[in-house]
Amino acid sequence: MRLTPDELNARKRRNLFIALGLVAFIILVFLTTVLRLQQNQADARAALEGPGVIEAEPAAR
């Protein structure tokens, strides 16, 4: 099977854009993961520090 120059050129360009799309998707997933981690960390810190400080004070005295 011999491919024409047009077919080869089109395939090359499609592959390039698929690669770019995949890289963009990987970056988006990475950014989403980082944002989620930050948000979850902040939530966890607030849950630990918020009511805990108020309750801990009388016990420390």
Binding site: E7, A10, R11, L16
Partner: protein, 320 residues
């Protein structure tokens, strides 16, 4: 010579053809309305989260467009307005367009779920299924009310922009409450309705084969419903003075164009047009299609203006 012999062994589709499958003009409107929803929604949303959410919604909408083109390739090839589309023109094969749409749908829904929340992702998935499945496969082929019911697809995906639980989710719900009436009204409005329907009907007649149920001639009652609904956000305190001015002035213009369309004979079935002979009737409809096109164009402009007014008020602190 058979189709298999003439067709190249490997696809010669270019990336631009795949981009056209996403219906970029529709995507741009989706991006604008979704971004407005974000800005206006109460509560702070991380800008990066918001940007990724808007991207997911845009890609999801594009994926629905790709599925629509894949499913309608044969019919699109018969209509002048759509025969240049990648699948209809044979530049992209139906299966390739279908695979492209499915993959983008999965990626956009998954990423939106991870990024914002799964309610938003579920609604995006519902929108895609509604548009590509329910509207394209069922409604469009069976009922003249297809674009009335199908227009709701345009109102689904854009405003679920609150992220996560708590305030984020509240923001999402508030965004829905704020924008759905406007968006739905604009999508269901007779401008999009009759403009698109009449144009499609006209081209269907031109093609002489891609017949679809065509909505009856313009009914001004729907315009009378649409305009108050578009103004309603200002009345209930959602929009401020800028929104009120834009919605009222735009509404008057809209009513005027709807009346002009009603008085024209666009959309009349050829056999009901007074002209003699089918060809003459078609030409008559064609000549009268300008009011339909104008109303269609104005409906898009009106939608943009309504959202722009909300955006301006939110950014300037004038909003409710």
């Amino acid at each position: 010579m058979t189709d298999a012999q003439t067709r190249p062994v490997l696809s010669t589709a270019q990336p631009e053809d795949y981009f056209q499958l996403l219906k970029p003009r529709v995507m741009s409107l989706v991006v604008f309305t979704a971004a407005t929803g974000l800005v206006v929604a109460p509560g702070a949303v991380n800008p990066l989260v918001a940007a990724i959410a808007v991207l997911c919604i845009a890609v999801g909408a594009g994926a629905a467009g790709a599925l629509n083109m894949a499913l309608e390739g044969e019919t699109d090839a018969l209509m002048r307005r759509t025969r240049g589309r990648p699948v209809a023109a044979g530049r992209v094969r139906k299966n390739e367009a279908m695979a492209f749409g499915v993959i983008l749908s999965l990626f956009s829904v998954m990423l939106l779920g991870m990024n914002a929340n799964w309610l938003a992702a579920g609604l995006l998935a519902l929108t895609i299924v509604y548009y590509a499945g329910f509207y394209t496969l069922l409604l469009k082929r069976r009922t003249p009310q297809n674009i009335v019911i199908g227009g709701a697809a345009g109102a689904f995906p854009r405003d679920r922009l609150g992220g996560g639980d708590g305030p984020g989710a509240v923001a999402g719900v508030a965004a829905v409450r704020h924008h759905l009436p406007v968006d739905a009204a604009a999508q269901l409005g007779p401008g999009a309705l009759f403009g698109r329907r009449l144009r499609q009907g006209r081209h269907s007649d031109d093609a002489g084969g891609a017949r679809r149920p065509v909505h009856p001639p313009a009914d001004p009652d729907l315009s009378l419903v649409f305009v108050p609904v578009a103004i309603a956000p200002a009345v209930v305190g959602l929009g401020g003075p800028v929104y009120l001015a834009v919605s009222v002035l735009g509404g008057l213009g809209f009513l005027g164009l709807a009346l002009r369309l009603y008085r024209s004979r666009a959309g009349d079935e050829p056999d009901k047009v007074e002209a003699v002979g089918r060809e003459a009737a078609l030409y008559d409809v064609r000549a009268q299609a300008k009011p339909a096109r104008d109303l269609f164009a104005f409906s898009i402009l009106y939608l943009m203006a309504l959202f722009a007014a909300l955006l301006v008020e939110a950014l300037s602190g004038m909003g409710a």
